[in-house]
Symmetry: C2
């Protein structure tokens, strides 16, 4: 199934790991966390316990860096059977604050693609992170002017995107989503008959991983980096 | 200055302490927190230190319950000079989870007012809390169907509301905001020439308090409870 670019009105961009590096900072934080708790458990077990804690807290805390910090604190208390030193709790809070203060590193082709697409479409940022955190990254990135606004979704499932389209007053066929996560940015869109382009990032959070079975028979485009999207546009113009 | 209800297109409602009780839960959490730390300081000093910590972290963490929990943990470490028992940290995390799980208690007249206004205007929920938290409360409240969507603002200052109006594609004169906080729901709207109705709640967070000087000469309506808004509408119809 081809994407009918003439029919698109709004293009939604995922933010983390689509426009800029993010998962790398989470992975580094997990490494630091495992080092802090190395007196109690193997790095592998610590990783597993932290992920389990994040999943247990997901309904309550949702996504984003503050949820991650809270899960690290709780996980540290449990892994150490309540014996983790107070300074380690402080160190965990500091890991979190450092994550929030990380520089924004743009991925390949971002500026060029946003510049081109913003001339024909209304662009929005669609994220399930904290609004404040995403606004800050957008500000730091220098990309603010390309986007009409930021949409925060509490999750990125079919019903969340359906609500978004209703809110934007457009049909699914008029929406194109671009992102790195098959689970969050691609499959739910395909399922509600909207358009989607997958731009894989080299690292994927375990929660976002999908099996081959789930993508079987689903129609979406995949590009190696954002710039390749411009080829689709060129081929339309030369049509 | 009268509000021209015929010209209004969208009515924004603040959520916490406008539609349902919220500040009361924060106050109760602060009392529990002070009790947990009573071996180290007076309740008054603990209150002051926690508020100071919340303000210090505001730029980094933003508003909402997760930010509050993180500030409690950090504050506990500082107030106790790093000697707070690990079980107390766990208790603080539990206070936070209990807050998230509190029942939603509607304020007087809410359902009636939403029912009436939703027949003539598009209603939105405009909040600076966590989206997931507010979605959950809206769901529990049974009020979901009255609202077109939830708008999350990272803060409620003039520029945030200007962005919101731009995003909604309406003029300031076509927007009416209803809320309990002069600082967040009323004054910024008045300053950008939108409409605002103040519905005071009996308890106001220190961060939201404004001096009389700030409200001097500002034009907005005040009602004692939400139902009184319906009187304005009746007087138009009988006009």
């Amino acid at each position: 199934m081809e994407i009918d670019f003439d029919n698109i009105k709004v293009v939604g961009f995922d933010a983390d790991d689509t426009l800029w590096v993010n998962e790398t900072y989470f992975r580094n934080a997990e490494l630091e966390f495992a080092k802090l708790l190395s007196p109690y458990e193997t790095a592998n077990k610590i990783d597993q316990e932290l992920f389990k804690k994040e999943m247990d807290n997901l309904d309550l805390y949702g996504f984003g860096v503050k949820s991650f910090i809270l899960s690290m604190v709780e996980s540290a208390l449990e892994i150490s059977n309540g014996s983790v030193p107070q300074e380690t709790i402080q160190s965990i809070l500091n890991i979190g604050k450092d994550m929030i203060n990380q520089p924004v590193v743009l991925l390949e082709g971002v500026e060029e693609v946003l510049h081109t697409l913003s001339q024909s479409y209304r662009l929005i940022l669609a994220t399930k992170g904290d609004l404040l955190d995403q606004e800050r990254k957008l500000e730091k990135s220098g990309l603010t002017d390309y986007f009409h606004h930021i949409e925060v979704l509490s999750d990125k499932k079919e019903e969340n995107y359906s609500k978004l389209l209703n809110h934007l007053d457009i049909n699914p066929s008029e929406f194109l989503m671009i992102g790195n996560s098959l689970k969050s940015d691609i499959l739910p869109l395909v399922n509600i008959k909207a358009n989607a382009i997958h731009v894989p990032f080299h690292t994927t959070w375990a929660h976002e991983q999908v099996s081959e079975k789930e993508t079987n028979g689903k129609h979406y485009k995949t590009v190696n980096n954002l710039s390749e999207i411009l080829n689709f546009l060129n081929s339309i113009e030369n049509h």
